[in-house]
């Protein structure tokens, strides 16, 4: 029952401690994680965004440069000059030297006929009329035209840039084919990680450059449709098991959209590592908290049990003392009440004895009987006197005193109290008392209580038929008086032996013993500056040893 109380207490304290330690820990970890996650994700997104804008700028720059080059070329040379293919070839070589992105260049009149052409496909393209091509009308309308990527007559991905030149009253077109690999190179520089990708789509969501993974030119890209993007757009989309982070940005010079795809797991891997690390740390903290709580609670509980025991001990000593005081008063009262009539009885008997000395009574034939009778009265009055004086001696012990004590005499007195009880139970009391035992300053009545308690226990332990041995001697250094009280009882098992001085420990039946006798005896002996130890062997008996300082 007591254990149950402590166990409950243990759980309460431990759980409270753990709970109150874990809540801040978890809060801390969560706050840290979310802040870090937020900051890091922002950083990663920012990086992708910057990259997208950067690539967009590069693409625009490239296209604007090409347009500018062609416009410059067209406006600094006359149609007549450029229609001369040798001249055009020279000019083309100059332009090509600055940028190797041109495939060919051609001059087309307003009827769609090729006036001049320089490039690798001379035989195929020289005779072609472009009047029915969709870009031909577009360039006539808007002056500058950039086509989508197409395969054209040559089945090679390319796009063209055409500029319209008005010279006097006629218009002509300077058209250049540009290798779309160049676009691809610029775009591909945008992807970040191993699994990242980047590509261009036109307004119909057809690929203008070949992505690294999946999808072919002029087909729909593997990702979602970003063709309608205006400005910059970022989106995280999870398709299947793989999350993907998309950044789409519109190119300014052409209705193309640059799409950059990243696997967020890759740039965010440090974040994931942080997640695991935090988890590990909190697990570590958790186990430390649990171990710490369990350990400290155990310590606290041990201390508590100890102080509870001590308190119980001192409470019981106090209770015992007040009980003994009350008992002492009762004993004194009873003894005094008996003592007075007893005094009268013995005086009257004495008077009768005196009278028997007189002459006339001496002649009585029953003189002998009278004398015998009086002697018996005196003898038994003396017995009663011994009892009352013993009771009064017991009553007197209440205030602690220090006086010269003959330990042997105290023992004898105790034996006197219990002799009858022992005789009824056929228990022999053997005395091996050292005759030259010195006196010591101590409290005889308290010593008597201790001895009586041990002797009582010994008698109870034996039950019937046995021997109690009392032994006194001086120890080797002549510093201590040793009293040993042994019985031939059943003994105390090794497990119980360390507990017998604990308060409330008893081997007696419920209601028979309070379990306080030995604990009180133990504290009395310690208070008197001595030590009390016990030795026992099951089946052989128990020996209590009390050592008192010689003072």
């Amino acid at each position: 029952m007591v254990d149950e109380k402590y166990r409950q207490f243990w759980w309460q304290i431990t759980l409270t401690k753990i709970l109150f330690s874990i809540i801040p820990l978890i809060l801390l970890v969560l706050v840290l994680y979310f802040h870090f996650s937020d900051a890091y994700t922002t950083k990663v997104l920012e990086a992708i965004r910057t990259l997208a804008i950067n690539r967009q700028g590069a693409l625009d720059l490239f296209l604007e440069e090409r347009i500018a080059q062609l416009v410059t070329l067209a406006n600094t040379n006359s149609l007549a000059q450029l229609s001369n293919e040798d001249y055009l070839n020279r000019v083309f070589n100059v332009v090509q030297a600055a940028s190797r992105s041109y495939i060919d260049i051609g001059v087309i009149d307003d009827k769609g006929d090729h006036l001049a052409y320089v490039g690798p496909y001379y035989s195929i393209l020289k005779g072609v009329n472009y009047r029915n091509e969709p870009w031909f009308d577009a360039v006539l309308n808007s002056g500058v035209y950039i086509s989508d990527v197409y395969l054209g007559f040559r089945k090679v991905p390319h796009f063209i840039i055409a500029v319209l030149v008005r010279e006097k009253n006629r218009s002509w077109i300077l058209r250049a084919t540009i290798d779309s690999n160049v676009l691809e190179n610029i775009v591909q520089a945008a992807h970040i990680g191993r699994s990242g990708d980047a590509y261009l789509v036109n307004r119909n969501n057809l690929l203008q450059t070949k992505p690294r993974f999946g999808g072919n030119l002029l087909e729909e890209p593997p990702g979602p449709d970003f063709s309608a993007t205006v400005g910059l757009r970022m989106e995280e989309i999870t398709t299947g098991a793989d999350p993907a982070l998309f950044a789409a940005v519109q190119i300014k010079t052409k209705r193309w959209v640059l799409v950059i795809r990243e696997d967020p797991r890759e740039p965010l891997a440090p974040l994931l590592r942080t997640k695991y690390l935090l988890g590990l740390l909190s697990l570590l903290g958790l186990s430390l908290i649990i171990i710490g709580s369990v350990y400290t609670t155990k310590k606290v509980l041990e201390r508590l049990i100890l102080s509870d025991l001590e308190k119980a001990k001192s409470d019981e000593v106090m209770l015992h003392e007040s009980k003994m005081a009350a008992l002492g008063k009762l004993a004194a009262g009873v003894a005094h009440e008996i003592n007075n009539p007893l005094a009268v009885i013995s005086e009257e008997a004495g008077w009768m004895k005196d009278l028997l000395q007189e002459e006339d009574v001496k002649a009585s034939p029953h003189l002998q009987e009278f004398q015998e009778s009086i002697k018996k009265i005196e003898y038994h009055a003396n017995r009663v006197k011994k009892v009352t004086h013993r009771l009064l001696g017991f009553a007197r012990r209440m205030e602690p005193t220090m006086e010269k004590v003959m330990v042997n005499a105290v023992l004898e007195e105790c034996v006197g109290f219990l002799e009858n009880e022992a005789r009824y139970r056929n228990i022999a009391i053997e005395k091996k008392l050292a005759e030259d035992l010195p006196t010591t300053a101590s409290d005889p009545s308290q010593l008597q209580q201790v001895f009586l308690n041990i002797l009582n226990n010994a008698i109870d332990a034996i039950g019937k038929d046995g021997t109690i041995t009392l032994k006194t001697f001086q120890d080797a250094d002549n510093e201590q008086l040793v009293v040993q009280i042994s019985d031939t009882g059943p003994g105390i098992s090794r497990e119980l032996l360390p507990k017998i001085f604990d308060p409330f420990f008893t081997t007696k039946e419920v209601g028979k013993g309070t379990g306080l006798g030995l604990s009180i005896s133990h504290s009395i002996v310690e208070k008197l500056g001595g030590t009390m130890t016990v030795d026992s062997e099951v089946g052989h008996g128990t020996t209590f040893t009390i050592a008192l300082p010689i003072k």
Binding site: A343, E347, G350, R396
Partner: protein, 133 residues
């Protein structure tokens, strides 16, 4: 040996009378008082050598009576008669000037010895007092 005069003070009549009878049989001049007050009264009117004084009496108890006696007649010897086996009240009595204490029930021979000793001391003190006069 000259007879000496004893006053027995005890509230227990039977006890007092038995003692008195026995002492008289031993040729001691003895009177009895059943309370401290009566004892003091008797001391005013008569001379006693030794007072045997019970410690525990109703009304004025033995210790109080002892104080009063010692105030009145410092040279009267007092033997305390105690029912307690208490050394304390005996010792307390002796600190207040009692000659000795005996415990009840008392063996008459012991009491006689103590009475004799007390008487001798009184005689010595009276002698000393006379010499110094």
């Amino acid at each position: 040996m000259e007879t000496f005069r004893i006053l027995i003070v005890d509230d227990e009549d039977d006890f007092r009378e038995a003692i008195m009878k026995r002492l008289r049989a031993r040729k001691v001049e003895v009177a009895g008082a059943n309370s401290g007050l009566q004892a003091l009264e008797m001391l005013d009117n008569q001379d006693f050598d030794v007072v045997v004084l019970d410690v525990k009496m109703p009304g004025m108890d033995g210790i109080e009576t002892l104080r009063a006696i010692k105030q009145k007649k410092p040279l009267v010897e007092v033997i305390m008669l105690t029912g307690h086996a208490s050394v304390e009240s005996g010792i307390q009595g002796m600190q207040l000037g009692a000659f000795d204490y005996v415990m009840k029930p008392v063996a008459l021979d012991d009491l006689m010895d103590k009475l004799r000793q007390a008487y001798e001391r009184r005689m010595l003190q009276l002698e000393y007092g006379r010499q110094n006069l």
